[in-house]
Amino acid sequence: MHRHLKIKFILFFVFILSIIGFALLFPRLTMPFGFSYIVFLMTRPLTILLTTGPAKQRVFYFSFLILGISFALFPLFAAFYNIDTDFGRLTSQLPELEKKLQDKFFIFKVYVFERFGYRLNIEPVSFFIKKIESSGIFLLGMIPNFLSSFFEWLLLVPMFLYFFFFQSQKFGATFLSAIPNSIFEKAYVLFSQFNTKFGEYIIAKFIEATILGTFVTIGLLFLDYPYPFVLGFIAGITNILPYIGPLIGLIPALGVGLMSNDPNISLLGMSMVFLIANLVDMVLVFPLLVSKVVNLNPMIVVMSVIVGGQLGGVVGMIFIIPFIAFFKLLFQEIYKDLSVQI
């Protein structure tokens, strides 16, 4: 290899490592940047529809979008209003729920003592309530930080979005021109595939969560189960986590059912709603939307989610999947190249 090609190669990798180092050192910039990138990828298909094609077609799509937003706004506001009301009711009833739980646990302690002669000396309810209170105080302490981050994001996200929508093509071309010739084709194709997969995965998960959340809310409304909107919302959000999410989403619904005095509440019915919603998701929505995008073995997905959780918490659990799909592509490419050389 020529000397100046070697220098170009080394400089490029130093540049890449510096970017990674910068991203890790300044998460306050990296996080809103990443968020803006996700929003950009999610809205890209819509942007293409609205900015290309004949003028008549663009006007039609734009009118259709405005009409869709107007129709969607009312139920969205209604849903958010209901979620807010549900949350308010749930928090106001917390002391009452604590007392009920204490009573139930006391009955259980008496039963254990009478049946087995063993005195239970633990107070799990008080322990959990104290935990919740202390985390509440901790969260209160975090409010100033949260507010400053919020205002930072309010400033940075629109700026980054402007960059992605209007400047990224030019910036991307400059960045691509710096890639050494010997790896350009492969690097460019892999990077494009990762971009496509990541965007498709985010859109697919968003649609999946919306379908599941709506399904659970409607099911719980039919059963006259308490807090249907907030429980549906939680089920939708937690469903973003593959495999573990549906179970986590079920816990609040189960808790509400167990603590309620209402004799008409059907835990079985609620479980059926969650089961049917998750079956529809597993049999219909997931294979049609997500599976095609990531194309990974379920076993690898579960293991990746666990590893992602350990590495980066909830965010790691969500985003590890497209990264694994990308590494699969990368290894396939390397393997193909090696097999030709052998």
């Binding site: 020529h2 100046h4 090609l5 293409i48 290309t52 071309a173 691509l176 021109s177 010739n181 010997s182 350009f184 084709e185 492969k186 460019y188 194709v189 494009s192 595939q193 496509t196 490419e333 193909k336 190249d337 030709v340 050389q341």
Partner: protein, 203 residues
């Protein structure tokens, strides 16, 4: 007939030119000047003279060039090796390239036998754009300092998504190149078969 051709014909035939110089004429004269430094970067003029894109209008060429990548190679630099995964189609914008090919069983590390030299406005690698798992069938090396304009699979996909008409047109032209090459290959195989028969008859 394009405006430039019309003006050229008028100049050659000694006919009178339009009375007042409008902007397109001014631009054309400016770009036609040998002292025009921007000429090197004038992709539009370059593609207008490439037969593959002859059916493209000026605006279509302008859009098409947005999807291209400019890659610069120094003399003797390998552009790609025989057996590499192929994803792109290259036009020679400046300089020239040499094409080498190995026999099937020879060492892949060797450059192989010299086949042909391609010059400015010629192109190579179109199979990489169309095939799913393409392997480069020859090694391409820059003969001198060379500038290539490449279009790759993701660009073609983007073009088909954003400008489907131009994407389809370009695909048709690429398919035509392949068809022409196939035609040439068939002719060569036929000629070889004929020669083989003659040799067999002599023996």
């Amino acid at each position: 007939m394009s405006y430039e051709k019309e003006i050229m014909n008028k100049v050659q035939n000694g006919e009178s030119l339009p009375d007042k110089l409008d902007l397109p004429v001014l631009k054309y004269l400016w770009e036609a000047s040998p002292l025009y430094f921007g000429k090197k970067e004038n992709y539009h003029e370059f593609f207008k003279k490439i037969s593959v894109l002859s059916s493209f209008s000026d605006n279509e060429i302008r859009i098409f060039t947005k999807f291209l990548h400019r890659r610069e190679f120094i003399a003797d630099e390998v552009i790609f090796n025989q057996g590499d995964s192929g994803y792109g189609f290259y036009f020679i914008f400046e300089g020239s390239v040499d094409i080498y090919a190995n026999h099937l069983n020879s060492n892949i590390e060797e450059k192989g036998e010299f086949i042909i030299r391609l010059d400015r406005r010629q192109y190579f690698g179109e199979m990489g754009l169309l095939e799913d798992f393409n392997r480069r069938s020859a090694t391409v090396v820059a003969h001198e300092n060379t500038v290539l304009l490449g279009i790759f699979k993701p660009d073609l996909e983007n073009m088909l998504e954003i400008y489907p008409v131009i994407g389809a047109k370009f695909l048709r032209e690429t398919a035509l190149i392949m068809a022409n090459r196939m035609g040439q290959l068939t002719k060569e195989i036929m000629a070889l078969k004929r020669k083989l028969k003659e040799v067999e008859q002599r023996i």
